[in-house]
Symmetry: C2
Amino acid sequence: MKKKLSVNHSEICKTRITAIKDTMEILSGKWKFHILGTLLETDRMRFMDLLREVEGIGSKMLSKELQDMEINHLVTRTVQQTKPITVVYEVTEYGKTLGPIIDEIAKWGISYRNSLHSPQDRETA
Amino acid sequence: MKKKLSVNHSEICKTRITAIKDTMEILSGKWKFHILGTLLETDRMRFMDLLREVEGIGSKMLSKELQDMEINHLVTRTVQQTKPITVVYEVTEYGKTLGPIIDEIAKWGISYRNSLHSPQDRETA
DNA sequence: TGCATTGGTTTCCTTTTGGAAACTACTTTC
DNA sequence: GAAAGTAGTTTCCAAAAGGAAACCAATGCA
């Protein structure tokens, strides 16, 4: 008799996995969470401010990631007719629905840092 | 007079951004959320079951991702002395603390799918 | 004897990702 | 007239990620 570990093939399961894949595809790349996290705190920022604020990113990457997110309606790009034109980026209302994800990720990262100082938390909790 | 969009350099801000980076580094790669999402539903699975269940992954990737997560104490690997040895993977209690992140990601992905059918949700909400 | 299954590893290859630096173009300031 | 700031784009390259297929050792099954 072969004891088979039963595997859950329910629709709910598949829907969930597909949902995870969808989300992560939209938020793929090294910088999107970082940019969104920054943008969600300040509401609106200019390109050069983001370039300075998002530590380590180059203009090519920043530009590309912002374009991706604009296509997915997560941020808006607005050109302002100032003397040297400025461009402001802001998170859309739709983009703000990512808030809970970012919050959970930040929360986890903080407790992860803490667990580094007392590793038994990682083992026993 | 130069009007400067003021940028928030508070410690809270930096801590948050660092936390986001930390988390995403641990969960980097194409498959970790997918594997964790699967493993969190079934509790324990064998290598070959995961290989079949995580659609599209190859054995090299699965092996590598599981090792990564084992190093980070997110999953455990247990060899069972059955006739052909079997190996079961399960999410640790610590790994389960990622549950809320995965849940939020799945939730968002589901509402994203729905918004594809009624795109105005993406614009106005 | 030969094929299948278990849990991987190894090799080879392609694609993707990402970074540095240079360049554009326009405007303001020194 | 030169430098600096605005917001990018382009080019060129290196590294990393990822996939397909072959391989391995052990055992079970027909």
